[in-house]
């Protein structure tokens, strides 16, 4: 007989909070904290993306000119 793997859903935060005895009010505070953390992370990501310099193109000619040793090694 083929064994069937039963996929169980992730436990919900609400059920977890209830099982651990977290009050509704504290649950809301933690949800707000998560929102704040995620928004902060989003801002950081956007900032990092704007600061990040574009990579120089991976070409043959430019890089070869900049490093003579490599250029020499690869030249005919």
């Amino acid at each position: 007989m083929k064994k069937v793997r039963i996929e169980t859903p992730y436990p919900s935060a609400r059920a977890t909070a209830k099982a651990l005895g977290v009050t509704k009010e504290r649950m809301q505070q933690l949800a707000a904290l998560l929102d704040e953390l995620l928004r902060g992370a989003g801002k950081k990501d956007r900032k990092a993306a704007s600061i990040r310099k574009p990579k120089p193109p991976r070409g043959h000619s430019n890089s070869a000119k900049k490093s003579p040793a490599t250029a020499g090694a690869t030249s005919r």
């Binding site: 793997r5 039963i6 996929e7 169980t8 859903p9 992730y10 436990p11 919900s12 935060a13 977890t16 909070a17 099982a19 651990l20 005895g21 977290v22 504290r26 649950m27 933690l30 949800a31 904290l33 998560l34 953390l37 995620l38 902060g40 992370a41």
Partner: protein, 176 residues
């Protein structure tokens, strides 16, 4: 390390438990046995058995591991226990009765804790990626300061509950 374990377990859809969360008149030992009995898995990090400031080593972790093994053997339950260590081959010297058992070596690094959790739980029905678990860890890390502030510490019952709920909330919304 504490945060990495909570993040990793929540990332796998498990609900971390600790004796801290079970107040009541029962002795601590009864609460530990109750918890082991209620859980499918137990993770025992033996890397923190070190001599403290007062010169007394902490034996709680190996003792709890012994309780988990004893219970699993005696009752033939499906409980699975895992041993974590920071350094290779130290377990063979510190607890030679467990020779033949491969501990999960985390090198005292949170990222390695996550990696070793994925190794330990390779047969679990949910297999989050290391990136997923790292993301949960980073959220917990950022939220920990606020939770510490609100609970005057991170190693109490309420702080633990807050961390678990925060991690589960994130997993539910971002990974599920």
């Amino acid at each position: 390390m504490f945060l990495a374990l909570i993040a990793g377990l929540c990332g796998f859809g498990l609900r971390p438990r600790t004796t801290l969360e079970l107040p009541g008149p029962n002795p601590r030992l009864d609460r530990i046995l109750e918890l082991i009995g209620a859980c499918r898995y137990s993770f025992h990090d033996l890397s923190l058995i070190e001599v403290g400031r007062r010169g007394t080593p902490r034996f709680n972790m190996p003792f709890e591991l012994g309780l988990a093994i004893g219970r699993t053997q005696r009752r033939k339950t499906a409980h699975e226990w895992f041993v974590f260590e920071a350094r290779r081959f130290r377990l063979q010297r510190s607890l030679s009765d467990l020779n033949g058992t491969d501990p999960y070596i985390h090198l005292a690094q949170p990222q390695r804790v996550l990696v070793e959790l994925t190794n330990a739980l390779v047969r679990a029905n949910r297999q989050p990626t290391i990136e997923d678990l790292t993301e949960v860890y980073h959220v917990l890390q950022r939220g920990a300061a606020r939770i510490r502030e609100a609970n005057a510490g991170l190693y109490g019952a309420r702080a633990f509950r807050d961390l678990v709920v925060l991690a589960t909330n994130f997993v539910e919304h971002e990974l599920a």
